[in-house]
């Protein structure tokens, strides 16, 4: 298990190798990259196996008193700041921490990354920068894996930033397009602002605890060595970073624009892996959040709820297929945060995985559609199941899963979330959450039916289904979307269900609240039926509804004007301030304060230089007068 560090290292090695040697390798280095991530996937199984065999006595492993999970920790020194051992010095380490949360994340990341890279073989086939694409993919996978393995905050921050820069490079991959450049810049800057919070939070913890190690921090919280104020403040600051990466309101604006990147990138980064880094962070540092009165968790759940609800409404009226999926992602991330905020730790992680598989599947399916149709407006699509049946099937599986239809993975996870919210938060929360669940089923159904059902337009006759390299990953993900829910149950034998694998504090075997479950099933089914009627059969018209609520509709369609407000702030506040400072520096500090004395000196010099007349007699006169004066002076002094 201590070899788990190989998982990111394979991809770390692959990235520069592809950049430097890619030209000479088969497939421009794409095979090297896939090999690396595949190797990582294999090692993941070995790690899982090894962990299942491990117990408290195994080297490096102990039962954490914070999470009550079996945790294994391995470290190696990186660098020392300050003198080793002296007061105030810091030792920074490469370290990995393995507990069930890590294993769940490793599985998710390696699997989805592998699927997406295989898919990209076909999707990005004709791109001139094919090799570079895979190099950055490898670097991203490596950074993400490091992030989930990190056992100290510094390494986490390093990986966090690396993940951000890879996202920047991949979103802006087609940088010839202005929109792509802008989107990449926006993503990086918005997440950077959140990262300020993250870094400040990390340093605050360090200031209090004296170490960057997560385990040390959790220990300090548990023993009360860390005060409530510090714990709350640092938790909220860490959450700021999480909000940035996981696109919570008001940091969500970068995710829809990030759809400018290639669709496989959206599947990997903006559905299954990078965006869940924030959720992972909150889960990993949960002891900080639930310390004392767990005030930060209230904030987390509120932010999560607002995000989930708001994004669902926008997804309902968006017309670009990828944008619908983007807002859906934002909404589900909000649900995960909400779950964490409602102490539904297991539910959140389970939903993260189920959503990861399903959303990646949806994006790959959308990619399959875009690959042949080359446009993204759902208004232009319709009835595509007739020409691309495989894609239609897998897409529908993903959509039904996220909509919350029973048996499929998404239903179980959503149900667990509802249970958690109901148990720990007040009635408003559960009501709004149920409404959000209804909306999510509705917009998923809308997307599904708009694109694949209904009449087929003539212009789409040439559209063909996905080739095998694209279809296979989608099919595998589809299987997972279908069957993943099964591991949440208690199976006979020693496996007590997901709830006893990943948990916080105490494991809970799966349980089912009948009334909540029934309510959610009814809503999901009703939503899909309504969507079917409206969008597939076109038998129900929304015209009346639209015209009566045109004002509200306009606000939602414009995404609640977040982008406009931000743009205004940037143009009127930030850039104006910047121009002011630049002007201040040039005109006041330089021209007045610096050049001023220089000019005064020069003018003074011009005034005085008239005494250099060039005429000998004036000099002689000056000498004569001077010596006479000197003589009188000496005479007066002597006398």
């Amino acid at each position: 298990m201590e070899w788990a560090w190989l998982i990111p290292v394979f991809s770390f090695a692959a990235a520069p190798a592809v950049v430097i040697f890619g030209k000479y390798l088969p497939g421009k280095g794409s095979w090297l990259s896939i090999l690396a991530i595949g190797g990582g996937f294999v090692v993941f199984w070995l790690v899982l196996d090894s962990w299942l065999d491990a117990h408290t006595g195994t080297i490096g492993c102990f039962t954490s008193e914070n999470t009550s999970l079996l945790t294994c920790d391995y470290e190696r020194s990186w660098f020392n700041a300050g003198i080793v051992g002296a007061v105030g010095s810091v030792s920074l380490n490469w370290g990995i921490l393995i507990d069930p949360l890590t294993i769940a994340m490793l599985g998710l990341v390696t699997f989805v990354a592998l699927m997406v890279q295989v898919y990209s073989l076909s999707y990005m086939k004709d791109d001139p920068r094919f090799g570079w694409y895979f190099a950055v993919h490898s670097l991203f996978a490596a950074a993400m894996l490091t992030l989930v393995l990190a056992d100290n905050f510094l390494l986490l921050y390093v990986a966090w930033e690396l993940v951000g820069i890879c996202s920047y490079l991949l979103i802006g991959f087609w940088h010839e397009r202005q929109a792509a450049r802008e989107a990449a810049k926006k993503a990086f800057i918005v997440t950077r602002i959140g990262d300020v919070g993250l870094l400040v939070g990390i340093l605050l913890i360090w200031r209090d605890v004296g170490s960057f190690s997560m385990l040390d921090a959790f220990e300090a919280v548990r023993t009360g060595a860390m005060s409530e104020g510090v714990a709350t403040a640092s938790a909220i600051l860490l959450f700021l970073g999480a909000m940035g990466k996981s696109a919570q309101v008001p940091f969500h604006v970068w995710l829809p624009d990030a759809m400018e990147g290639p669709t496989p990138v959206s599947a990997l980064i903006h559905a299954a892996t990078m965006v869940v880094a924030g959720v992972y962070l909150v889960a990993r540092t949960f002891p900080l959040f639930e310390a004392y009165d767990a005030d930060p968790l209230l904030l987390v759940s509120i932010v999560g709820l607002v995000t989930a609800l708001g994004a669902s409404t926008i997804a309902l009226v968006a017309t670009d297929l990828k944008r619908i999926l983007a807002y859906s992602t934002i909404s589900h991330l909000g649900l995960m945060m909400l779950s964490l905020g409602a102490f539904g730790y297991t539910a959140a992680i389970f939903h993260m995985m189920a959503h990861g598989f399903s959303k990646a599947l949806l994006f790959l399916g959308a990619g399959s559609v875009l690959h042949s149709t080359e446009f993204q407006e759902t208004g232009e699509m319709g009835g595509l199941r007739k020409v691309m049946p495989v894609t239609a099937i897998v897409f529908s599986i993903g959509a039904l899963s996220l909509g919350g239809i029973p048996i499929l993975a998404g239903f179980w996870s959503k149900d667990e979330i509802l249970v958690a919210v109901n148990d720990h938060r007040n009635v408003t929360f559960i009501a709004l959450t149920l409404f959000t669940a209804f909306l999510s089923a509705l917009y998923m159904g809308r997307a599904m039916f708009l694109v694949f059902f209904g009449p087929l337009k003539d212009q789409n006759n040439h559209v063909h289904d996905a080739p095998i390299a694209m279809a296979l990953p989608m099919a595998l993900l589809g299987v997972l979307a279908l069957g993943f829910g099964l591991i949440s149950f208690n199976w006979p034998g020693s496996f007590g269900g997901f709830g006893t694998f990943v948990f916080f504090g105490h494991g809970e075997p799966f349980h089912f609240e009948v009334w909540l479950g029934a309510l959610s099933i009814i809503m999901a089914v009703a939503a899909f039926v309504a969507a079917y009627k409206i969008y597939a059969l076109r038998s129900v018209s929304l015209q009346g509804l639209r015209s009566r609520n045109s004002g509200l509709l306009k606000i939602v369609e414009n995404k609640y004007y977040f982008d406009e407000v931000y743009q205004w702030t940037i143009d009127r506040v930030v850039l104006v301030f910047s121009r002011f400072i630049a002007y201040f520096d040039r005109a006041i500090v330089n021209d007045i304060i610096v050049n001023g004395p220089a000019d005064v000196t020069r003018k003074f010099g011009i005034m005085i230089r008239v005494h250099v007349t060039g005429h000998v007699y004036s000099y002689a006169m000056a000498m004569a007068l001077g010596s006479v004066g000197l003589g009188i002076f000496v005479w007066l002094r002597v006398a």
């Binding site: 008239v610 250099v612 060039g614 005429h615 000998v616 007699y617 002689a620 006169m621 004569a624």
Partner: protein, 106 residues
């Protein structure tokens, strides 16, 4: 013995004439001559002072004469140099009128 005062008066008068010459003359050569006059006036003063050191007309010590010899030497060298420069200027500008030689003006 002639009193020291008269020598000093003579010296002062010659010096004043010299200064007048330096400042009022337009010809560079005449200015140099006036400078020579000033120098010789100073010589007279110094030798007279040397000879009146102990109140008698005798030369008690020769400091004044030593200085005077220094001055004569330096004056000779300086006049040589000055005349060389004036010659050069005349070759360049065809004039020794100092009013017209003002290139070193700012």
């Amino acid at each position: 013995m002639v009193d020291l005062v008269y020598f000093q008066l003579l010296s002062a008068a010659l010096f004043a004439i010299g200064i007048y010459g330096v400042m009022a003359r337009r010809s560079a050569v005449l200015i140099v001559m006036s400078i020579e006059l000033m120098l010789n006036a100073v010589n007279i003063n110094l030798i007279a002072a040397a000879s009146h050191m102990d109140g008698t007309g005798k030369f008690a010590n020769f400091d004044g004469e030593l200085i005077a010899i220094f001055i004569i030497t330096v004056a000779a060298a300086e006049v040589g140099l000055a005349l060389a420069i004036i010659l050069r200027i005349f070759r360049n500008r065809s004039t020794v009128n100092v009013d017209e030689i003002n290139l070193m003006k700012w």
